[in-house]
C-alpha cells in the first residue's frame, strides 16, 4: 500500500480528545496531535517548494499558525486536510517571498535559492516542467498523483470543488505532458 494511503487510513490520530485538549492550551496534546502528520506535511512542502530546508521552515510556520488558530478549528472535522491546507498556503507564501527576494537582487544568479543537495525533484526535465505550472496546478498534481489522495480531499486542500479539482488535474497533467515533450525535444 502506498505510504500516504496507509497514513490516510490509519487509526484516527487520537481524534477529538487531543484536539479538545490542545484547544485549551495543552501544547503536549498539540504535539501528539501533529507529530504523526509532520512527515507527510514536510513531504508536501518539499514537493511544492522543491527545497528541503525551505520545506521545514514552511511546515514550521504552518504549525505555528495551526496552534494559534486551533481554537477556531471546527469540532468533528478531520485535522489532516486542515493542516495540509495550512502547509499548502505557507508554501505559496514562501514562493511569493522567494519571488520578491529574487526581484530585489539586481542581477540574480539563476535559481540562486536552490542547491542540488536540497533539490527534491531529481528528474531535471520534470523539475523544469513542474516549475512552469501554476501554484494551484502543481499542488493538485502532487496531491493527486504523488500522494494518491482522492479528489474530495485534493479539492478540500486546494480549496476548489471536487469537480474543479478533477478538471484542473486533467488540464495540469496535459500541460505537464506538453512541457515535458518540449523539454525532451
Amino acid at each position: 500500500m502506498h505510504p500516504f494511503l496507509w497514513w490516510m487510513t490509519s487509526e484516527a490520530v487520537m481524534g477529538t480528545d487531543l484536539i479538545a485538549r490542545a484547544q485549551t492550551g495543552d501544547i503536549a496534546a498539540f504535539e501528539r496531535l501533529v507529530e504523526p502528520l509532520y512527515e507527510k506535511a514536510f513531504q508536501l512542502a518539499a514537493a511544492m517548494l522543491d527545497d528541503r530546508a525551505q520545506a521545514e521552515d514552511a511546515v514550521q510556520e504552518a504549525l505555528i499558525l495551526a496552534w494559534r488558530k486551533l481554537d477556531r478549528f471546527r469540532y468533528g472535522e478531520d485535522i489532516r486536510p486542515w493542516l495540509m491546507t495550512l502547509v499548502a498556503n505557507q508554501c505559496r507564501e514562501t514562493r511569493r517571498r522567494r519571488w520578491w527576494s529574487v526581484r530585489k537582487v539586481a542581477d540574480p544568479p539563476e535559481q540562486a535559492h536552490e542547491s542540488e543537495s536540497d533539490r527534491v525533484v531529481a528528474d531535471a526535465d520534470l523539475h523544469s516542467a513542474l516549475q512552469t505550472l501554476s501554484e494551484r496546478d502543481r499542488l493538485i498534481l502532487i496531491l493527486r498523483y504523488f500522494f494518491d489522495l482522492p479528489y474530495e480531499e485534493v479539492a478540500q486542500i486546494a480549496r476548489v470543488s471536487p469537480d474543479a479539482a478533477r478538471k484542473a488535474s486533467a488540464r495540469a497533467l496535459a500541460r505537464l505532458r506538453d512541457r515535458l515533450r518540449e523539454e525532451e525535444a
Binding site: Y38, R72, V160, L173
Partner: protein, 271 residues
C-alpha cells in the same frame, strides 16, 4: 491504482506521467530534529493561543474582583454614593459592562455558523451597523479559473464602531432576481487568520476578500452572472448593495474572509 474507478480511465500516457512524477519527486524525510525545532518555535512564537485563554480569564477574574471590591467599599463606607437602582448585592450597574459581549456569529446562506472568537476586554463601542457603513469594490484578480475580489467597508456613521466576523452575501442578476448563493467561511487561506475585533474610527476602513471559481461543476454548463452583490455586515440583518460582475460556479459558491482591519494591505485580493 486499479481499484480506483477514476484512475481506471487513465490513458497509458497519463499513467506514464504519473509514474514519472512518483519516481521524479523524492521528498525524502525531514531532518531528525526538525519536528522538535518546529515545536519549540510553536511554543516560543505561538503564545497567542494558550496565553490568550489565560489572559482573558485573568482579566475577567480581575474585573469581577474589582467590581466586588468597589461595591463592598461603596456599600460599607459611602452608601449614599450608590445609585438608587443598585441591586441588593451592592454592585453598581454602571460597573457591569466591563467585558465586551461575545459577538454572536452571523449565519450565512449556507447555514454554516462559525464559533465566535475569544472576546477581548475593551471599552465598549457600538457595533457597526449596516446604515453606518458604505461598501466599494476593490481590486480583482483571476488565475486559472479562480477569481478574487476585495471589498472595502468604510465607517460613514461619524462615530467609531466595532465589528467582528464574516460577511453574508447574496447575488442578484441584472433582472433583479436573486441567484443561488452559497457563502463558505472555510479554514482556507482566505479565512486565515480567523475573525478578530475590528475597530473602525469615523471614516475608518475595513476590508474582506472573496474567492470563487468560474469552472462549471457537476451538471452545470455555465454559471449565472451576478451584477449586484448584497452584503450583510457581521451580526447585521440588513444589506449593503454593490455592483459586481461575477459568475461563481458550484451553485454560486463563494469563499469569504472575515472582515479585517484597514484597506487590504497587500492590494492583492488573493491574500
Amino acid at each position: 491504482m486499479n481499484d480506483d474507478p477514476e484512475r481506471g480511465q487513465m490513458t497509458e500516457d497519463e499513467k506514464r506521467l504519473r509514474d514519472r512524477l512518483r519516481k521524479g519527486i523524492r521528498p525524502g524525510r525531514p531532518s531528525h530534529d526538525a519536528f522538535w525545532r518546529a515545536m519549540n518555535e510553536v511554543e516560543e512564537r505561538g503564545r497567542g493561543h494558550s496565553s490568550r485563554l489565560g489572559f482573558t480569564a485573568g482579566l475577567t477574574a480581575g474585573a469581577v474582583l474589582a467590581v466586588i471590591l468597589l461595591g463592598t467599599f461603596l456599600f460599607a463606607v459611602r452608601p449614599h454614593l450608590l445609585p438608587a437602582h443598585t441591586g441588593p448585592a451592592g454592585t453598581p450597574h454602571s460597573a457591569a459592562p466591563m467585558v465586551t459581549p461575545t459577538p454572536s456569529p452571523s449565519p450565512t446562506a449556507s447555514g454554516i455558523v462559525h464559533p465566535p472568537s475569544t472576546s477581548v476586554p475593551v471599552a465598549p463601542l457600538a457595533r457597526c451597523h449596516t446604515s453606518g457603513l458604505s461598501i466599494t469594490l476593490g481590486k480583482t484578480g483571476a488565475a486559472a479559473g479562480n477569481d478574487y475580489t476585495t471589498f472595502d467597508l468604510q465607517n460613514v456613521s461619524g462615530q467609531a464602531c466595532e465589528t467582528e466576523g464574516f460577511p453574508g452575501m447574496a447575488m442578484m442578476a441584472a433582472d433583479g432576481s436573486q441567484l443561488p448563493t452559497n457563502v463558505l467561511w472555510q479554514n482556507g487561506a482566505l479565512a486565515s487568520p480567523g475573525p478578530t475585533l475590528v475597530v473602525l474610527p469615523a471614516g475608518g476602513v475595513a476590508h474582506f476578500n472573496i474567492h470563487w471559481t468560474d469552472v462549471p461543476s457537476g451538471d452545470e454548463t455555465s454559471c449565472p452572472t451576478a451584477t449586484t452583490l448584497l452584503v450583510t455586515p457581521p451580526n447585521e440583518t440588513t444589506q449593503l448593495r454593490v455592483a459586481v460582475n461575477m459568475a461563481p460556479c458550484g451553485n454560486g459558491t463563494i469563499d469569504a474572509s472575515p472582515v479585517r482591519q484597514g484597506a487590504d494591505p497587500t492590494g492583492d485580493p488573493n491574500s
